[in-house]
Symmetry: D3
Amino acid sequence: MAEIITFGEIMLRLKPEGYLRFFQNDRMEATFGGGEANVAVSLSNFGVDTAFVSKLPPHEIGAAAIRSLNSFGVDTGSIVRGGDRVGIYYLETGASQRPSKVIYDRAGSSIAQAVSGDFDWPAIFDGAKWFHFTGITPALSENTAVLVKEACREAKKRDMTISCDLNFRKKLWSSQEAQRIMEPLMDYVDICIANEEDAEKIFGIQAEDSDVNGGKLNHEGYCSVASQLIERFGFKYAAITLRTSLSANDNRWAAMISDGSQCFFSKEYEIHIVDRVGGGDSFAAGLIYGLYKNMSLKDALEFAAAASCLKHSVEGDFNRVSVEEVNALAAGDGSGRVQR
Amino acid sequence: MAEIITFGEIMLRLKPEGYLRFFQNDRMEATFGGGEANVAVSLSNFGVDTAFVSKLPPHEIGAAAIRSLNSFGVDTGSIVRGGDRVGIYYLETGASQRPSKVIYDRAGSSIAQAVSGDFDWPAIFDGAKWFHFTGITPALSENTAVLVKEACREAKKRDMTISCDLNFRKKLWSSQEAQRIMEPLMDYVDICIANEEDAEKIFGIQAEDSDVNGGKLNHEGYCSVASQLIERFGFKYAAITLRTSLSANDNRWAAMISDGSQCFFSKEYEIHIVDRVGGGDSFAAGLIYGLYKNMSLKDALEFAAAASCLKHSVEGDFNRVSVEEVNALAAGDGSGRVQR
Amino acid sequence: MAEIITFGEIMLRLKPEGYLRFFQNDRMEATFGGGEANVAVSLSNFGVDTAFVSKLPPHEIGAAAIRSLNSFGVDTGSIVRGGDRVGIYYLETGASQRPSKVIYDRAGSSIAQAVSGDFDWPAIFDGAKWFHFTGITPALSENTAVLVKEACREAKKRDMTISCDLNFRKKLWSSQEAQRIMEPLMDYVDICIANEEDAEKIFGIQAEDSDVNGGKLNHEGYCSVASQLIERFGFKYAAITLRTSLSANDNRWAAMISDGSQCFFSKEYEIHIVDRVGGGDSFAAGLIYGLYKNMSLKDALEFAAAASCLKHSVEGDFNRVSVEEVNALAAGDGSGRVQR
Amino acid sequence: MAEIITFGEIMLRLKPEGYLRFFQNDRMEATFGGGEANVAVSLSNFGVDTAFVSKLPPHEIGAAAIRSLNSFGVDTGSIVRGGDRVGIYYLETGASQRPSKVIYDRAGSSIAQAVSGDFDWPAIFDGAKWFHFTGITPALSENTAVLVKEACREAKKRDMTISCDLNFRKKLWSSQEAQRIMEPLMDYVDICIANEEDAEKIFGIQAEDSDVNGGKLNHEGYCSVASQLIERFGFKYAAITLRTSLSANDNRWAAMISDGSQCFFSKEYEIHIVDRVGGGDSFAAGLIYGLYKNMSLKDALEFAAAASCLKHSVEGDFNRVSVEEVNALAAGDGSGRVQR
Amino acid sequence: MAEIITFGEIMLRLKPEGYLRFFQNDRMEATFGGGEANVAVSLSNFGVDTAFVSKLPPHEIGAAAIRSLNSFGVDTGSIVRGGDRVGIYYLETGASQRPSKVIYDRAGSSIAQAVSGDFDWPAIFDGAKWFHFTGITPALSENTAVLVKEACREAKKRDMTISCDLNFRKKLWSSQEAQRIMEPLMDYVDICIANEEDAEKIFGIQAEDSDVNGGKLNHEGYCSVASQLIERFGFKYAAITLRTSLSANDNRWAAMISDGSQCFFSKEYEIHIVDRVGGGDSFAAGLIYGLYKNMSLKDALEFAAAASCLKHSVEGDFNRVSVEEVNALAAGDGSGRVQR
Amino acid sequence: MAEIITFGEIMLRLKPEGYLRFFQNDRMEATFGGGEANVAVSLSNFGVDTAFVSKLPPHEIGAAAIRSLNSFGVDTGSIVRGGDRVGIYYLETGASQRPSKVIYDRAGSSIAQAVSGDFDWPAIFDGAKWFHFTGITPALSENTAVLVKEACREAKKRDMTISCDLNFRKKLWSSQEAQRIMEPLMDYVDICIANEEDAEKIFGIQAEDSDVNGGKLNHEGYCSVASQLIERFGFKYAAITLRTSLSANDNRWAAMISDGSQCFFSKEYEIHIVDRVGGGDSFAAGLIYGLYKNMSLKDALEFAAAASCLKHSVEGDFNRVSVEEVNALAAGDGSGRVQR
């Protein structure tokens, strides 16, 4: 029986080797990932019993996605088999001034075509304490939006904590659609997580004096964003990640959290990027872990920031780090000296 | 201006390395292929100006498919850019008693969603002499069935030769649907190409005393199949490939052709398989080449059989062989001695 | 709770790519395998809840071995973490007249140094129906011989079925030592599995008119070997695999089983080898599956023979095949035709 | 019919993977490249019909070089087949204080042995507007120097624009020889392109206060270099790239252009290098594109600088970027944020 | 001080991975090889102190060739550094009916341009017992023909045994040229080695009733060829390898030797080919080893045949096998059973 | 006969590709390395006849370790074959804040189990001038500590120079054990080499005001450390490397040397790390080379610092650089400009 449940899509991720452009040669790294699956893997690596719930086709590609989760000990017993395809995203890793690129090919995936009734929420949530979803899942289709609502309702009934990473994806829906669907879901959410742009793109709540593409973030301005989110939706906490993109290779990375009255900022890390996809998910997982383990708000934030800092040094969507590694960094050892 | 025009779908082909099963490791060979594209590449390698007509999305994955055709000199100028996705097929190469596996993920591809009006057939056919399609294209969607008909009508108007490889795909349609759509298209076809099963699966015309899965083919019985096809549809020629599958590694491979009165058989080759996908397409291309170059029926058949024999030794969908190499084999040098 | 329990060592397997000799280049395929782990993976792939019990070091190499088992859904919850190292075997794949080579580097592994008390057998066997071990585990050290005995005693107490694959390894012990340790263990065993040489090497029971290295097997002679085994140790069944090695690339493969009165032979397969390591383990797993699912003796034998035939076409120690695939081959479809 | 014609050598480029030293393992990346071919590919990627003219052997290695150009849509119809070999260059990518290394093995290549009469310039230039060559081509052999002159004469006759990238290569000729051959060719040239050292090495025109190896460039001093070039040879424009090499991984990159009266400087980019070979060629192509499309001098310069900045992030000689990507960077988005 | 001296060219060997055609992807296996170097490596692997003498450029590619020989313990101390390039050969591995292809790019290599005086033969031969060369070395250039003669003269003076593998290469010279140069060299030779075609191509001595390309060899006819060679040139022994090419994957392989009066035939091996390049060289090395170690003529022949049989199972030019492995096969264990 | 002798362990080094975490995929880079072997390879690359002395098992893994040394011309003639295993270390390369990790699996290696009498020191040292060992060798086992003492005694008797790199490894022994064994060995040592931590860990001699993990080094403080070492043990020179770890990707690197009266500091390099394992060994080799070639103390130090700076840009344990490359950097060319 899993303690934490995440629900969403896991996709096949196709990436050329190293810094090659799409199809520059005839090999692709073929791994799996997706916002909620990434959170589940992180939590499982932290030693928490976590289930990932989704729908995947009965063929070998669906089976491979499940094997990839199983290997980390994620509970995949509630994944429904059916539908036709595994969604795909193509990823090209940028370098220097050349940005990374993502091309989605996820329409028609098994989960996007899942319907009410596919998931037995009471059974899935039996014994669970926490439900996590992101803004991607309700954006997949009208059906998945309904499914998320059903899940939230059941989770709330059981007094589970509900966290949501806003995760706005402009290729999936417009700001208007996002607001229409997400606003009512926020009623169920206890902990809201966002990046520098999500609150603005979905709810029109903007940080002053920040220019995300111009590489300028006014950290203090995000206290106000968090406060407004809490005020408007009654969250217990709102946390925001703060990425300053200097180049495709170098980012600054920090985060903040607010409980409505107080606002905490994490350390800011200078990161040499190996793979930044999944960075936000690893933050969400770190924060969930910290709060689930009853760390102080500040400690949970630092744990989350350190976990997600480390994610940037790991290839693939999944954050392959342990609690010990995160704690070592949060405690200040970022020198990267060899550990023999 | 291309002499020969083929029309259909080009897909991304994702294959694990060597004999690995799906996702046994995290690499995929990512190349492109598809029945009609394979024919175009073969013909281009034989030195004939050939165009491949299709619809592909405007993004980088579509561009990569086009680059793969360009590299062989295939004319891609009539490929329309639009729609959302490149169709995909996953391929696992079998060995010994373990069969190869193909999983299609082609629904919703740009070409499947192409509509009447996307293609300016008179312009495309300007100066061309030959039109080739396969049974896959009309099977993709109701739209593509219409598009094939439009193309055939225009080609016929211009007195072009039309060839069709029946290529029945049970994952795309039922025998009933296939017959309903294919039967009227046969009116336009001059040269019909099929494998051991197509005529039976689509038109119910069966070879006596053959058991394809049991590895037993009665070659003579196929004379009757070809005759019946010619009689029923008025083809000029009907050609059939004859594969005896001993194991996933070893096949016997031959072919026959009939003009309604006479029936010719090619040599039979004992093949150690490197990659058998695209074997039928390479036969079609060889036959088109032979007939287009006015070889005798027997010579064209032997050219086609030798070309497709060689294909089985080449990785990927495309048959990377030259006229000289095909002629050398057709002339009898199959010893595989090193050429220094 | 697992239905079937296997106990033994899982090793890191280091193999040069393809047919390269050791260190011919600077890459190694690094996977995991070992007799009892291979059986567990096979059974898990057949859909049976199976646990693998062992001891592995607490560091990342031990964790990776566990991840490899998790990915197939093998229950790894009873694996003890401790000791210093993961055993290793180096494998070089032979070709034609050049034999494959195995170099073991397994001394001092965590499981070889495990001690009585490391495993809580009553808890491990809770709810289980079947215990499987091989002759390798007691050969690892005096300790592991004791551990196997403890496990057998507990299993017998619970009326579980016990199967043993004799698996003689001359690098681990002499025939004398093997007989000394194995003889008393046989008292617990219900089903004994062996290859063409094991019975002779351990118990001195020999098939007449067979010359294993000379590539000559007298199949009938093995009926007598099985009968003698049953008579001497009171097994319910004794099964023997029959490999005729024509070259490193081509083997004939069959098996027999006896219940003491009747002797059944499976079909004999002509195999083009991809990877023959783990062939015997896949036979054991197939036989356990068949008998556990109450197939007839003949059907279980054919299932096991087909499963292990397919293993030879799969890279790595693990047999990555499904019940459906095994049944298809056992039912006679060995033509290797592409499955689209 | 191509609008822009480039003439020169395309070589096989052999590079160890990543940062490996020569033959540190037994794999080589085997791609193609060469100054003028690189310019042709860039222009073709920008959507301009461009032909590359050269001579290549009739065997498969020559054919592969052509396929690599075809894939980008470069017109290869005027490439003559003959001679014996494709020139080769071995490349080792440096890191930190270890410089990249190039070893040339290009003597005796087909193009170096081409003779007057191999190329039908009037036919090649039919309908073309622009001819581009570099200082490498006349340096290959006495024959190629004659061929360049013939091409220039024919191009001038047709009022085509002629651009030349000086591209001094000390392994091919001495400064004295270079000056002797290049000086008369300059009469035909409209637009001269150079790096920080070319003008000095070939024509003895030096920038004051610059120490190229010492990592110190006096940008202003290059205005004078450009002016002197224009004055001496009557160029319409002279453009110079300005590389400050901080380490093998980090460079600053900028460029300037002069029309004899005015001197413009581009933005300077801080670059994390993926592959800097072909950087100058990508600048030349960008400048040709800008001027050919009638951008202002300043805009053409910024386009060229941005195009070549991006080249440093792309593996291989060829600049695989689109006009849109170049414009985005020139417009100021160098943050490298992921594009979803 | 080396006991056996070989003299010739070592080339860079560029081969696409597996069965890929030239430049089907962008990777090449980059190793080294060449007739006489291959013999030196074989002998060194057999434990004999062997030197390889050649000329190689001073740059890193030359150094890499030397490192590849050093790794096997071949004495490279007499290799002269100078000249410009390492010769290259491109190799494509055939499959089934598609033959392997070799494209040479060796003109202008350092050794081809070596001159009399580059090698201090008395010093090189100091303490040596055996000199081996092949027909390739004198074919490289007029200079190397002179160098071979000088070496033979010095070796003869010292009473060393001289062996020559005729190794006719039609790309290097015509039969007429070969005969003109080789005939006088034969005076120095004690042991002549040839394949099925060499004697005919160079000296016009033909085996009756054999059709090499047609896959038909009359083994007995080669006794007469060997006798004629011995009679004409006074060799002590003449040995001929007998390859029957069934396909690019399957060959039969045997050899014979004659002392002028008696004619011995080796066992014939059925070989599944991994890499047949260097097969003849490995036979020569095996024969030299056997005779150098004073085996009987028949035993030396069987040793040589077994050694070269094994070579066909090893990737690359070099025969990476030990005396123990060769003896095991010669003694009859060709079953390819796994050696644990 | 080698001039310089090093004695120790060479291990198999298993590293995932690039920045992958352990077993993130199924490939490992499999190379060899170890402190004293690394020094031997460096010196051999610098052109000095150097022998590496050790014990390795007689099987193919041991042979491969020897081949890897042979390829650089290291004299391996004194390596004893025996024992059971080659020690292994697993290496994971860190990035940004994630540190590199080393897991040792070296217990029970052939050298750790070597005994007095395995090595004939008088024969090994015949004609040699210098003996080098590190603190790793005596830490392997009680036996190796004795062997090092025997070697030192024999070397001293012959008036050879003896250098020792302290190289403290906490996984092999405690500070107490280290001091107990190392202290008496210091009597033989002429030149002592250490990193920032060794002197403190072994002898309790500490630099003031330095915090190694905190990334803060007080360079001046190490003068005192060196002086104390010299005073206590009577070394001729003591040299210390000074690494400031900014992140796993970026280090500052310098070194100092003292003769007891004077203290010299090298340039400090800003390094973008490719592979920092073996950095200290490359410094030791550089220093040995400089002193052996009678450079001034300052020049030898700069040579050593430049050599080890370059090592950080080279994959693998071995420093694949030449004297020319080191001199170029020491002379100031660290711009990393391409060398054509």
